[in-house]
Symmetry: C2
Subunit: 445 residues, 2 copies
């Protein structure tokens, strides 16, 4: 494994920044979040700092259970595949990782789109596999409510198996393009996959030849046990959240055991915790920035978030009273990481008002607030402790906080020799020191 430098990925879910109400900040963009040039400038900024990837998260629904969600939250966003494909034309080195739901799409289409993006970007595509945890999502795809958690993950594993087999269906070199003989492809190296499983039936072959990376990079986020197993089996990159070094150490150990169970080396999966950097000229200024962010949140939105995360409507309950009784995890089909967080906060006797503020103000990622040096210190400490291979950077306000990070923190990390100062040649896998997967059909010849 290449641990010569820390992997840095710029996170985009709310295109205005990861703080939930980022769009209200004076520095945040307006309607330009639906044009390419805004994202092109962000990508150029990230490339100027030799960041490894853009990481675009997504939902396939509006979050609109409560009216405040629609009124106050910036739900609308461009679809990731289209956005990343457009960005592939105007970037050179940065990885292009996007979310597609394995629950609400067809494996043939997903395999083809990522293979195409990998070709178009000359080997920079990555797929963040999610199973989708919101009822609103399920209801856009013929269902009445979310799929059961375990079932979603079982199905996602089969989905990944199908997609990877499709990516192998053209062996490397199967395309001949021999104009003299008229042989376009070698039929003995183009394979039907004839998958017939519990959830999918797919014949293949894919109608795109094997792409530069063999398999586009596979990313996974979601820290439930099922989620971790999926990552340990299939992913190259795992996006998670740490509360600190001790938490990270335990998490890494857990993952190493899971990787071993799937016959993989401990270093073959890059673990990247998300962090929310808040940079000030002084610790006091950083604190001021944080307070400013909090002031952007309408209270009602926070309360409705508590309802969403708990799976219980708390809007009629006293704001200064305790959290409600929480549903049993085994029967909770939402994002279990969210429910776990609620359980922890309930144990700490937080009030609904306190939790509302907390939720609305952070996505759960570790805040690293302080001067550029403070933040570089903390990132370096995490990286050198071996608990992570880098970070997903969840800038509260875009584009300004990204620019600040690029101008102030990255040079500090580069000076210390932990962040790269130029890109390696080759595909995203090459740049990250990840192997190009062998082709299952070629192996069996």
């Amino acid at each position: 494994m290449n641990r010569e430098h820390m992997v840095l990925g710029a996170f985009l879910f709310n295109p205005q920044g990861d703080h939930r109400m980022s769009w209200r900040h004076p520095d945040a963009p307006g309607a330009d979040i639906f044009g390419l040039s805004y994202f092109q400038r962000l990508a150029a900024l990230a490339e100027s700092a030799c960041m490894d990837a853009l990481f675009i998260a997504d939902h396939v629904a509006m979050w609109d259970s409560y009216e405040s969600n629609v009124a106050h939250y910036a739900n609308a966003r461009l679809e990731p595949i289209t956005l990343l494909s457009a960005l592939s034309a105007v970037t050179r080195d940065i990885g292009l990782i996007g979310t597609v739901s394995a629950s609400y799409s067809e494996p043939y289409n997903t395999a083809r789109m990522f293979a195409s993006l990998d070709h178009l970007s000359q080997g920079r595509a990555g797929w963040n596999v999610v199973t989708s945890g919101m009822d609103e999502e399920a209801m856009n795809f013929g269902r009445d409510a979310n799929l059961e958690h375990r079932f979603r993950y079982e199905r996602a594993a089969e989905y990944l198996e199908v997609v990877e087999t499709l990516w192998d269906s053209w062996e490397d070199g199967a395309m001949l393009v021999d104009k003299a003989t008229g042989a376009f492809a070698d039929p003995s190296r183009v394979h039907r996959i004839d998958h017939d499983g519990a959830h999918f039936k797919v014949r293949g072959p894919l109608n795109v030849p094997r792409s530069p990376q063999g398999y586009p990079l596979i990313a996974q986020a979601g820290a439930s046990s099922d989620g971790r197993d999926l990552a340990a089996r299939y992913a190259d990159l795992h996006f998670t959240r740490y509360r600190g070094i001790d938490d990270g150490r335990a998490y890494r150990q857990d993952f190493d055991a899971r990787l071993a169970r799937f016959g993989r080396a401990p270093g073959s999966l890059k673990i990247l915790p998300g962090i929310q950097p808040i940079i000030g000229e002084s610790a006091a200024e950083a604190e001021e920035k944080r307070a400013r962010l909090e002031s952007l949140v309408p209270e009602r939105l926070g309360v409705d978030m508590v309802s969403s995360w708990c799976g219980v409507d708390v809007s009629g309950m006293p704001l200064d009273g305790p959290l409600p009784d929480l549903p049993d995890e085994a029967h909770y089909n939402g994002q279990r990481t969210n429910l776990k967080r609620m359980q922890g906060l309930k144990e700490q006797n937080k009030t609904i008002r306190e939790v509302a503020r907390l939720l609305a103000n952070a996505g759960g990622a570790q805040v690293m607030a302080g001067t550029a040096t403070d933040i570089a210190d903390e990132m370096e400490a995490w990286f050198k402790a071996g608990i992570c291979d880098g970070f997903i950077l969840m800038f509260p306000i875009l584009p300004t906080d990204c620019a600040d990070f690029v101008n102030k923190v990255v040079p500090e990390l580069q000076r210390r020799g932990v962040a790269q100062t130029r890109y390696r040649e080759g595909t995203l896998r090459d740049k990250l020191g990840l192997a190009r997967p062998a082709n299952r059909f070629a192996r069996s010849r």
Copy 2:
């Protein structure tokens, strides 16, 4: 309706050109059909001639029923949404029309991708709706064979209804982005669609605001009666094939009647026949070019095509004997236009060998061969006869035949005042003189 200029669309299915064995031609590209720069150059060429659109056809499968299909035919191609999204970043005016199958995708995803492409391209997106007629396609999506023809079209109509309603789910102006008050959107103008039909159940709203064109342009190809009805009900642009002016006149009359049945004005649908221009300095040179193309086709491929189109394996039958008994149209689930063509050829007592040569050498589009003046004459005559609103240009060999057309035929058409010499301002709909659709939710306020 704007009939000031003929609409010109450059067709791309085989990226090497529309002749089935175009890839073998010395001028055709090789592996560069999987990189952006090849398509970027083609798009620049088309924009230099003020062509209205790129029209990317697609299948969601390899055509591989017979081994010769894999060996000799250039089956592999980039997925259209990714390719068009990348092209949106490096083009300015040209329409970006791509095929997505309504049979093998989810309406929410399709609505979102085209809305996003419409935003990214500032209003230049178009969706060519197909229902997919190949068994190979069905088998990549959980089925044993193709869906029944009528059922496919019924389902596609409901699919379109869902997609268009999702495109309306954010009214124009629903996005407020009022930083002062914290109102991101106006909940009274963001609508769940609560569609619950025979084939789809979709709640909405879409998580992308209404796009520049309101609805991306809707294109439809496929001349079966079900196909024509779908176009007459939903499409802005219909791609078809004419055998000549009389054929075109009857076709147009048929369409005008269908449009009337759906309450639409005769001119609200652009009808564009595909033509295959073969340009020579003289008629003799054009004929030579055509013969050269024929020489590229391995005989076996043609025979296997006859089997595919007839729905009957003819490989064991005498090459100089007649076509086999054909299946009944009512029970034929492939592309009925293909079957109809076979019926016509059978009536003409063509042999299998003759039909094999015919099929392998043309996609069924009218060949217009001759000097640039000859071709301009014929195009002008069709356009002025009112049978069509322009043409889909199916260049046999790319990029050279497109360059020839741009350099020789387009200036001739421009001199005659039938082809535009500069782009109109605005979206693709604006440029073509097509109205921006009203929003169904706004209408009912």
